[in-house]
């Protein structure tokens, strides 16, 4: 079997299986609800300039700490008189940017390094896995806090800090998958045909390990969103006055006795977003893992 034959054969098997998986996912009400939630958050982020009642930084001096359902302010205003609804809407952009950006970074590095470790095995695998153990010896948030402190507080640095903190997870999964895939006939066929390593890794191996990686990616996004909010809450993420859910919670903490509703909506936005991604992730895992299919 040539490399091209191997590719067509695996593509022929893959496509209907994926279509069935999507159909099965859509038939699960919790996963469907999660998918709707994700689409809503993405749409809110994309349409923020159109649907936001006010610019996120516009200050209304006469109406500070207004309660929800105040005239003109559906969710009330913060301590500086900024509309909370507008800031929650604009905050979705920051959260999604950090969540998707850091997961893409972590997955990109982790998957590439993991595939190399699993494909070459031997000393390459040993060195890379020891490095992975080293990164894993620091809890995720401690590592992210340290990196954010070194890099300085900003949106891009929060993405970098969380992405670097996240890559060992992807490295572990992709290495494990690669170790199994390496023994498959189509990989052996590609090696015998003299296909370059990058072709074997990215064209033959990667598509066949997408299922577990997809689940991991869907579950990593909410973790990154919570991590980003935590960094902002600690003053190490997105900096004020930018609209960000974590920073809003940090600001709200000083006003819990005066305006308890101030902290409710940014937190609710984080919860609904992470819950939606987790529902999709759980659904994908159930659909793609044969042991979980019932």
């Amino acid at each position: 079997m040539t490399a091209i034959d191997a590719e067509t054969a695996s593509a022929r098997i893959r496509t209907p299986r994926r279509r069935t998986a999507v159909r099965r996912l859509l038939r699960r009400p919790p996963a469907l609800a999660g998918l709707v939630g994700v689409v809503v958050v993405v749409l809110v982020a994309l349409l923020a300039p159109l649907i936001s009642p006010y610019p996120p930084l516009q200050v209304h001096y006469s109406t500070t700490l207004a309660r929800p359902f105040s005239p003109g302010f559906l969710l009330g205003t913060d301590d500086l008189g900024r509309d909370i609804l507008s800031r929650v809407i604009w905050g979705s952009r920051t959260s999604l940017a950090v969540g998707l950006g850091s997961t893409a970074l972590g997955a990109g590095i982790g998957i590439c390094v993991g595939m190399v470790a699993g494909f070459y095995r031997g000393w390459v695998d040993t060195v890379l896995m020891r490095f992975n153990d080293l990164v894993l010896s620091f809890p995720f948030l401690i590592l992210a806090v340290g990196l954010a402190a070194i890099l300085g507080p900003s949106l891009v640095n929060a993405i970098l800090a969380l992405g670097i903190g996240m890559f060992p997870l992807f490295l572990r999964v992709s290495r494990g998958e690669m170790l199994a895939i390496r023994e498959e006939d189509y990989v052996a066929a590609a090696v015998v045909n003299g296909a370059p390593t990058r072709v074997i890794l990215f064209r033959h191996a990667l598509p066949n390990m997408l299922s577990p990686l997809l689940v991991q990616i869907t579950l990593a996004i909410p973790a990154a969103i919570i991590g980003a909010a935590a960094l902002s809450y600690l003053g190490l993420g997105v900096q004020p006055p930018a609209a960000d859910w974590g920073s809003m919670l940090s600001e709200a903490q000083s006003y819990v006795s005066q305006d308890p509703t101030f902290a409710v909506f940014p937190g609710l936005a984080i919860l609904l977003t992470t819950l939606s991604f987790n529902l999709v992730g759980d659904g994908l895992r159930d659909v793609l893992d044969p042991r979980r299919r019932r």
Binding site: R130, D133, L134, L136, S137, F138, P139, F140, L141, I142, V145, G146, A149, I150, G152, P222, I226, A229, A230, Y233, L234, L249, A252, Q253, V256, S257, P260, A263, V264, P266, G267, I270, L271, T274, L275, N278, L279, D282, R292
Partner: protein, 318 residues
Amino acid sequence: MKWYVVNRVGTSVLTLFLSSVVVFLGIRALPGGPAQALSSETASPQVLIAINKEYGLNKPIPVQYWVWISKVVRGNLGTSFTNGLSVSAELANRIPVTFELAVLSLIIAVLIGFPAGLLAAVRQNTVSDYAVTTVSLLGVSVPTFWLGLLLITVLAVHLSWLPASGFVSLVQDPLGNLEHMIMPAFVVGVGIAAVIMRQLRSAMLESLGTDYVRTARAKGLAEARIICIHALRNSLLTVVTVVGLQLGALISGLVITEEIFVIPGIGQLTLESVFNRDYPTLEGVVLLIAAGYIVVNFVVDLLYSVLNPRIRVTGGPS
């Protein structure tokens, strides 16, 4: 097995050594060193040079590392730049606080997660199962600091049932200590309880579908006996492992929670020393966390291979 243990000890020691190098270099990469943090913004370069000289920060990095690590192996973590106290003594004061919070959080996590996970598995596809599954998913998705803020708002500010923040020593006032610790412990415990629920449910469902459970049912054994003796015992391994591996989440949760509830533990010390550029304290505390994490992971790995005879991990002849 012996070779596996030897191999695992060796890699753990190597990882710990490399962690110490990373901690040391990483902390020195923080922008604005301790001299800037200790002096005023308008301090002259001479003042900064004098401060750096006093704390040995003008020496080459490898020399600084050697001085530090040779003290660390003798149990001396140095002196804090900000308050002049011994880092070891500071850690000794803070560890019991964080340890108590961690233990309370785990107790709460097990008390919530265990019965709920069991109920969901035994009553699969019923209202109880859906309720537990939904609550556990909410527990995984909720940000710790938001839950903390909500509880402070409701239980402390509005109902005045519990203090909003602070800490009272367990030895001096056990009841006051519990009043201060119960809310933060609940906040940290909820996330871990959610993980326990999910894992126990899934492990129990797998066990309940096995042949030995079917045989037990065919023999006419009581359902309670089948669940507790046969299925639960075989599901515990997964749960124990998962609880062990939650240490990272536990530490991360503790850092944020101690900050919200103003609890003088290791988490709060970590953040204080990051913001103050207090190198010795930060080095001590991060090294302690890394060492704890490595040791617990090692013990969990070992337990896993001891408890599960099918998993005799490779690493040499067993």
